[in-house]
Subunit: 417 residues, 2 copies
């Protein structure tokens, strides 16, 4: 595969005001276009330091992608610096000038002269129009003693960079090489990472193409299957191994290709014409917020009730006071009553509930991380006990993910009491 | 100020699986200890490439911080590579050996020999114990022709790196130099960024110490005031300018030092003994989830009702059917009824509501981004109309932040109808 690297320009990155999500976004897509990313560099808005980084990168990589520093202010010096290093002039692009004039007149804002700097590009650039902002990017093919190098300049804001890279740069890069590295992702819930690894030992160890690896986040274990070759070869190799993963985790596989569990659940409910509701204590609205983050969720979720206090559990949800008095707010019985009453109150086919202590610290003798999750569907209601580790936020996220996955498995008939 | 840079080691960063939040975390804290960060570099788990990056960094910086690659697997080659480049031997640390043995025996797991690699450090290292994992870090003072360099090795997982850097490395760094750059952050809501800049023109333009700058995220404008000098000088300069910011934004200032609006609201409610509830349509549980993310929120939030469907608005909340029929679910009148009924149903002092179209796309003739936020407190209920721009997620976040801030201002008596 060809070698690529990313240089991100911006003092705000070096001040820690933002994380370098631009480099992350680009890196995840480069292997599929046949480029392996070897370095990320972040450098401030400074000509000498940027020049020196760029020279270094051109020595060692076939493709150098620069992000940030394309705007109209004095700080924005990426184009000037790249032109200098490559020995190119900056020339005005008429089409960009007229679209800039257009942009400002449509908004009724004054056109400040400094905006014109956004219409200058190193000569012979292929200009990448910006559909979500004013500063276009550009792509330059540059001949050197070590062969042709490609230099790409992209705007820093992710809302502008992401579509520009995916829609306009990736297709060009894919034409550069036949080889690529593709990956497929399998999300598995309810199995510890070590057990996933063990069950896939034969495809994880000692193989070079395809490869498989696992990582874990918020209780979901992801198996990444990667293969290199031509696009067709890579697809074929990935599919062979994917079959094995699907077979061995038929019950626990939540989704492929990073689809989050809330999206899988909403699509499943839509398909089966099932309505959803929830009752939340420790998750405090996260389950509902996750489900409603999916466009089209209004066909599925009718309502949700956040009952952070005992009064709310009794008054809003109708949990019997003596259930709480006898077993406590954090208990199997309360979780069951919450799920069942949410289903009835909201008039839905399925309901889930979560009650627990998200921490920090012990609460009414319940350890931090102790959570009961209830589910009620087709006349059957039960709850399960979990002990999640980690911070308050982590416990809440894990509990919310688990509740959504339990709802999914309940509908599929694979959840055991 | 002294020069610093960060080298992050890990193929998962170059594959785009995670963003480099380690570099962000460290970078935000370095100036306060007297170090200016000039570069971030990400490099894979590869000895040659890491060696070459480290040599380059030692040429140009006083402090080089490496993150990642300290674990027990074969991939973890940071310590070996650093020792090689600095010409140091790796030596076993007995204290670390015994705490590793302890760690595994307490958990009843087998002690695998490869774990011992975590007890080897470049000779004469100052060892940084890991309170949240098994791999300790270390700090090395290294004499070169260009003076003494400090090299720090930290584990990659943020839950281990963050406390190790803050508690164990920062105090050492602060002893290295008298100079520092400190910053203070002011969060301002309800004023566009351009107006904030205009009102602070005299302290933003043409000053070098202290400096002030603005940036905006999810509708909250942050003013950063930075000053350099000795710790006391910087504090004094920041305080002078801070007074001006506080005076000019006495109504709109939400918080100082990055405290999120939900935390400000919970603390205010606690202080004033006020209980809170909410009714959410387009935000779908986010308002409740934000409030309950604050430890101690259970003293304040009684409940929340997520009414994503019209039936839920009518049945769960008691919004009159003819209000929805006459004005629509996305309307000032529905927002008001939702807030008032949430307050009554949940029996709280204050309630907020949000109903709107988060997008994507127009819904029942309501444009994406149109949101009505209601508030009900002390016999007064009203709603305001907003047109938020951006993605579905962005609209929801802005609406949730706005609702929390409206509750805060309502309690303070600074919210106008």
């Amino acid at each position: 595969m060809k070698k690529a690297e990313i240089i991100s320009v911006g003092t705000e990155l070096l001040m820690g005001q933002v994380a370098n999500t631009d480099a992350q976004y680009i890196s995840a897509l480069l292997p599929g276009a046949g480029f392996a990313c070897y370095y990320h560099t972040v450098v401030g808005d400074n000509r000498e330091r940027l020049s020196s980084c760029l020279r270094n990168s051109l020595e060692r990589s076939d493709l150098v992608i620069l992000t940030g520093g394309l705007g109209p202010t004095e700080d924005d010096l990426t184009k000037k610096t790249v032109a200098d290093v490559l020995g190119l002039k900056l020339v005005e692009d008429e089409k960009t000038v007229s679209s800039l004039v257009d942009y400002f007149s449509k908004r009724g804002s004054a056109f400040i002269a400094s905006n014109l700097s956004q219409a200058y590009f190193p000569e012979n650039s292929y200009i990448l129009e910006n559909d979500f902002g004013t500063a276009p990017g550009c792509l330059i093919r540059h001949e050197t003693e070590k062969g042709q190098k490609i230099v790409v300049l992209l705007p820093g804001p992710p809302s502008e960079l992401n579509p520009m890279f995916s829609n306009k740069v990736l297709p060009v890069l894919k034409g550069e090489t036949d080889d690529c590295l593709k990956s497929k992702f399998f999300a598995i819930a309810g199995v510890p990472e070590s057990l996933v690894e063990d069950r896939l030992k034969d495809i994880i160890s000692g193989r070079t193409n395809p490869t498989a690896a696992t990582y874990v986040k918020e209780g979901i274990v992801t198996v990444r299957v990667s293969a290199s070759g031509t696009s067709e070869e890579a697809d074929r190799l990935i599919e062979e191994t994917s079959k094995i993963v699907r077979e061995r985790f038929s019950k626990e596989l939540v989704s492929e290709d990073k689809e989050p569990v809330e999206e899988v659940l909403v699509r499943l409910c839509e398909k089966e014409n099932i309505t959803f509701s929830c009752a939340e204590s420790c998750t405090g609205g996260m389950i509902a917020a996750l489900v409603t983050s999916v466009p089209g969720a209004s066909n599925v979720i009718k309502g949700g009730i956040v009952t952070y206090s005992n009064e709310a559990k009794i008054n809003l949800l109708g949990v019997p006071k003596d259930v709480i008095d006898t077993f406590g707010a954090v208990s199997m019985e309360t979780a069951k009553a919450m799920a069942e009453n949410a289903r009835i109150k909201c008039g839905t086919d399925i309901a889930v509930s979560a009650t627990g202590n998200a921490g920090p610290g012990t609460m009414e003798n319940k350890a931090a991380g102790l959570v009961y999750i209830g589910v009620s569907y087709k006349g059957k209601t039960f709850a399960k006990e979990f002990n999640f580790k980690g911070s308050r936020d982590h416990v809440r996220r894990r509990a919310a993910n688990m509740a959504l996955n339990m709802a999914r498995r309940m509908i599929l008939g694979t959840l055991e009491e």
